[in-house]
Symmetry: C2
């Protein structure tokens, strides 16, 4: 029997910070008729709230150091305010959203990252193998659109902070045994750009060979590298396709219209 399709959509922080763009994106998502699951990032709200509370945000290599005070802030902002605002908006559009973090129904078990050269604090590392895919597929089968905040737990009562891109790709891999999974990273750019100064220079498709070229000539660098590595890891682990594109192109991305984002293929 052919598997059903599942779209796993990751929405990035810059869109979350732009309430108009977020609302348009959520309205598009609510109108998708196929199975969907949304993973959201955090945006600048957590950093702003921490600052107001006198907690200093620390980043090492673009990753947040999560001490116990910062953990409280990200749980409040990610699993509380952002998650529930997204759910309420999707519900208003007729989409039966259910907002969860990784502790809820134990959907994303994690392990606290061991302190090495850097102590990342309450950061949770996850693996597709330990994600209970049938629990999540049953929620989807019951007609829910899970909306997942990037907070996990260690199974011993400790909440942890986990990168939302990693959650999206791990869920995609874990669920690829049950669904034909299409993973979409939506953010504030139209896709992978040939020329970083030209927002319209989107590269339509990238396979492994092309990726090697684009890395060599410096077209892809910086923050895009872990996203691309994540994407290739996902498609080599059972995910059908990964798209990187603008949040405003969600409908085009999901219906695979030409020039709607960059498609990462085998």
């Amino acid at each position: 029997m052919a598997k059903e399709k599942l779209h796993i959509v990751k929405i990035g922080g810059n869109i979350i910070d732009d309430s108009r763009a977020l609302q348009l994106f959520l309205s598009d998502l609510a109108s998708v008729k196929e199975n969907c699951l949304l993973v959201h990032g955090g945006g600048k709200m957590a950093t702003a709230l921490a600052k107001q509370l006198g907690i200093e945000a620390q980043l090492v290599n673009g990753r947040r150091i999560t001490d116990s005070e910062m953990l409280k802030v990200v749980v409040m902002v990610y699993a509380g305010l952002i998650n529930k605002q997204i759910v309420a908006h999707l519900q208003s559009g007729g989409c039966n959203a259910i907002g969860l973090c990784g502790a809820d129904a134990n959907i994303i078990p994690a392990v606290k990252r061991a302190a090495g050269a850097v102590d990342y604090g309450f950061a949770g590392d996850i693996s597709p193998e330990t994600i209970p895919a049938t629990t999540i597929s049953r929620l989807i089968g019951d007609g829910y659109t899970p909306v997942i905040a990037p907070i996990t737990h260690d199974g011993e009562g400790q909440l942890l902070n986990t990168n939302a891109d990693t959650i999206a790709s791990s869920l995609a891999i874990a669920l690829s045994g049950i669904f034909d999974v299409y993973l979409h990273f939506c953010f504030e750019k139209k896709g992978v750009l040939k020329d970083s100064d030209d927002d319209d220079s989107v590269i339509d498709r990238i396979d492994e060979q092309k990726y090697a070229e684009l890395k060599r000539d410096g077209t892809i660098s910086g923050g895009m590298l872990p996203k691309m590595d994540n994407a290739f890891h996902a498609i080599s682990s059972g995910v059908q396709e990964v798209t990187i594109g603008h949040a405003s192109s969600l409908t085009g991305i999901i219906t695979q219209q030409p020039h709607a984002g960059t498609r990462i293929i085998k």
Copy 2:
């Protein structure tokens, strides 16, 4: 066919503020073998956070006035931090908790309270009739213990703040068509006291006639009155029994041991 039992437990704010008492209570809850659903209040954390952020908390007749800034705070604290900390703790005790607010899966539709003599702001009024009992019973049937934060929504994208006692009794009434519902209000007192200065003067049982007497002679007054009215409304609307007791007596309350709280009966 006999209905299954469902225990709906409301845990009050003073216990939530006492992390040791909360952990003991949650460990007891995790060990309950029968169907459970937990509703939690907010405690002082929201007020403290609002103060830190320079938002002034306003109360009229013991009810919080929820302006848009205060709404963000209660969503963060109730549906975020408190809800997820409770879920992580229950999960660590082997209880398959799933943390939800009223917007999730649309489990508690609400209506924004119209401004009258007092404008309560983003306060949500609810009714047992509009609660989708089968949605919640399916989650319980699937083996989950729902953990519900006192945040609701209007179905048009607006989150709202709703009293946790009201949520607990409305859920109890709504679910009494499907389950034999036992509603337990757990807080920092041993029950309804004959003598407010003597914590051991717990009244074992109160029926309507006794309640009328206790109101007349002033034994029950103040903040206990709405709790009692809620309780009698629940048992006259299909709920089997309501107990009011100390959070540390949860096991005794659930197994109906003598002197474990005050039992409100028809």
